[in-house]
């Protein structure tokens, strides 16, 4: 497919009896930000490890920048900037030395490398600490250096594997802003996360992955359409949730009611209009409603719709 920086077809990987990735297909266009959204253990890291050429595939094919990638590829790997999930830096080297070492590994020559190291230090906000050993950095600073190494050689495709896990809110926002800026500058990005809001904020398209399979893929709007533009109403109740659920199902706008401990989750078309009547029905069933929350359709709802479980489970 012309214009794609990455094409992954039929990726499959097993570890013993566990099928970690089971026939995954996706592609990323030049300049596009693509998200792999799924809970922990869904197969995101295994998939990205095969795409970067870290892990042997059992079957399938990955083409990056027009070249098939395997563990022994060199040309295709040069087009990729990889940011692993865990911080992967040399603590006894300074930020500049870390960047310089990886710049050399990616074949950058002296002047180009020196200039680019300076640029990246500015981008990740570590210019004033460039010559300090990275073991002295805070967790957030290490995370930024971790990303900076991936950016250094100006890759055509940047792959970030859950880069905000365990990061404080301030650093997290800085990382997201960096990714947005790179995306605006035309860099293609593959971003894996289990945070729905990150996928919604950053990604042009999202693949929802669970148990090693991509369940759905598309833009946010396309995915939300899968749940039929229905709002989700969460009601906290003090008692008799089953009776309330039965009463709410009688409303014409209600598609689905799920009872859980201490509350109800209602999928309804046009929550704003239907809400007064829903409260009346609950009261009529003798149920006291203590709080109500209306959630417009989002990727969380899509995931719930597709898997029957919440993304955070």
């Amino acid at each position: 497919m012309a214009g794609n920086i990455l094409e992954a077809r039929g990726l499959r990987k097993s570890f013993g009896d566990l099928v970690a990735v089971d026939g995954v297909d996706f592609h990323i266009a030049e300049g596009e930000t693509y998200g792999l959204l799924g809970p922990n253990g869904a197969g995101k890291t295994t998939a990205i490890s095969m795409v970067t050429g870290l892990l042997e595939k059992d079957s399938g094919e990955v083409v990056v920048a027009g070249r098939s990638i395997t563990t022994s590829s060199t040309d295709a790997k040069a087009a990729i900037g990889y940011v692993p999930q865990d911080i992967a830096i040399y603590p006894d080297l300074s930020a500049r030395e870390n960047l310089d070492f990886f710049g050399r590994l990616y074949g950058m020559n002296g002047k180009e490398r020196s200039a680019r190291v300076g640029e990246v230090l500015e981008i990740i906000g570590l210019a004033d600490r460039a010559d300090d050993r990275s073991e002295q950095f805070s967790g957030g600073m290490k995370r930024r250096l971790n990303i900076g190494i991936g950016l250094l050689h100006s890759p055509r495709l940047l792959m970030l594997d859950e880069p905000t896990v365990g990061v404080d809110p301030q650093s997290r926002n800085a990382i997201l802003e960096s990714v947005e800026r790179l995306s605006q500058e035309g860099m293609a990005v593959l971003y894996t996360t289990h945070y729905m809001e990150e996928a919604e904020r950053l990604c042009d398209r999202v693949g929802i992955i669970d148990h090693g399979k991509i369940l759905a893929e598309g833009t946010r709007a396309e995915l939300v359409a899968l749940v039929g533009q229905r709002d989700r109403v969460r009601m906290s109740t003090n008692d008799r949730t089953e009776a309330a659920a039965e009463a709410l199902r009688s409303h014409a706008a209600v598609d689905e009611v799920t009872a859980s401990d201490g509350g109800l989750e209602v999928l309804v078309r046009g929550a704003a209009a239907a809400l007064p009547r829903l409260l009346e029905l609950a009261a009529g069933a003798g149920v006291g409603v203590t709080s109500v929350e209306v959630v417009e359709p989002n990727l969380e709802a899509v995931f719930l719709h597709l898997t029957g479980k919440a993304l955070r489970d």
């Binding site: 870290l54 790997k77 040069a78 992967a88 830096i89 040399y90 603590p91 590994l105």
Partner: protein
């Protein structure tokens, strides 16, 4: 190859920065070699041992006088012992040896000379200072040797009179003793060829400590592979545009350079500071390079089978000390004979030290090939076994 060199330069920078190279590669081997040379050097080299003896003559006879005057006096004159003090009473002698003023005291009891002349029992008592084990043992050896001489004379004289069937008188006994003393000893111990190939103590301990620590220090290169995995940086390296073998090659180069730097430093420092004589430089270079390759092979084997850097470090330390002990780096294992001697021959350490001994005996480069090839065989076997798990070593 370029990527491997870049990885090696990065690793060397890290090792120099954390000072582990200086500590394990230079300070430890040179320090231990110096300590061993100072402690054990004089004994091992057969130089004068720094012991002093005392004697108390409670007998006052002729034979006792020969022992305190001629025997002990000659030891002092020949500088075999530092000094000999003759005490006037047993109490003075016991006080001196109790305070450690002398290492051992010979007590010649009353009636000693008469007992010797009459064929009776004539014991020489040795009292040793509690902290001078070697001095006391030397004193006992001197007393035993003197007793042996006396007993030999007694047997010779007695045999003559028994053969002649005559009654001995004192004049005849004295004449016979004088004649027997003129007869040269039928057996004597002289210098033998093998002694020429022995290393002096400074060189031996310098070489032994250098090769032992070589097997510890090369781990800083190869075992870095496991540290890269634990740090997560191995994935970064594997995602970079280079061959996976470059990572292993880079670590091997690091180990090799560390080994060369360590051995070169130890050789230069011990030559200048301890007076070690390592022999023909080309021969030494051949042994050192073979030793480094052998250490590298063992390292790769450990790295291939260990699960963590910590586990590998522990395994490597155990292997390094075990091989050093078996190889005779601490004591002459070859003299143990049997299984231990046979096992020592599989260690690179034994062949390394043997090769240096050959160099000390004047052998050149070609003459030590017999010691080089067993070391390289060890390297080939360990590297061969490690290569069976090469893929695992660079798995993410």
């Amino acid at each position: 190859m370029r990527a491997a060199v870049l990885i090696a330069i990065k690793d060397l920078r890290q090792r120099i920065r954390d000072k582990s190279f200086f500590l394990w590669g230079i300070v430890a081997p040179v320090g231990l070699a110096a300590i061993f040379s100072l402690l054990l050097g004089s004994v091992a080299d057969g130089d004068s041992i720094r012991v002093s003896f005392g004697a108390v003559d409670l007998d006052g006879g002729e034979v006792a006088a020969v022992f305190t005057g001629d025997v002990l006096g000659s030891l002092a004159e020949a500088e075999i012992v530092e000094s000999v003090v003759v005490f006037g009473s047993l109490a003075d002698a016991e006080r001196a040896v109790g305070a450690g003023d002398v290492d051992a005291v010979f007590v010649l009891p009353a009636g000693f000379s008469a007992a010797v002349g009459g064929g009776g029992e004539a014991p020489i008592e040795v009292i040793g200072y509690v902290d001078s084990t070697i001095g006391t043992q030397v004193a006992r050896a001197v007393a035993s040797s003197f007793a042996g001489e006396i007993n030999g004379l007694g047997v010779a004289v007695g045999t003559v009179f028994a053969v002649e069937g005559s009654q001995p008188d004192q004049a005849a006994i004295d004449a016979l003793i004088s004649e027997v003393m003129q007869i040269p000893a039928p057996i004597s111990v002289g210098a033998i060829g093998a002694a020429d190939k022995e290393l002096d103590s400074s060189t031996f301990y310098s070489a032994a400590m250098a090769v032992m620590f070589l097997f510890l220090i090369v781990q800083f290169g190869v075992l870095g592979l496991l540290e890269e995995r634990e740090n997560g940086t191995l994935n970064r390296l594997l995602a970079a545009p280079m061959r996976r073998s470059s990572v292993i090659m880079g670590k091997a180069i690091t180990s090799f350079v560390i080994g060369v730097l360590s051995m070169t430093s130890v050789i230069v420092i011990t030559t200048v500071a301890l007076g070690a004589d390592w022999g023909d430089p080309f021969g030494v270079a051949a042994l050192v390079l073979a030793g480094i390759i052998a250490a590298l092979g063992l390292m790769m084997l450990v790295a291939a089978f260990a699960k963590t850097a910590e586990q590998a470090g522990n395994l490597q330390s155990i292997a390094a000390f075990l091989l050093a002990m078996l190889g005779g780096a601490f004591f002459p294992v070859a003299q143990a004979g049997g299984l231990i001697e046979a096992m020592s021959k599989i260690t690179p350490h034994a062949w390394f030290l043997r090769g240096l001994g050959d160099l000390a005996g004047g052998t050149g480069l070609t003459g030590i090939l017999g010691s080089v090839w067993p070391i390289l065989l060890f390297a080939a076997v360990t590297m061969g076994l490690a290569s069976l798990r090469l893929r695992r070593m660079v798995a993410p």
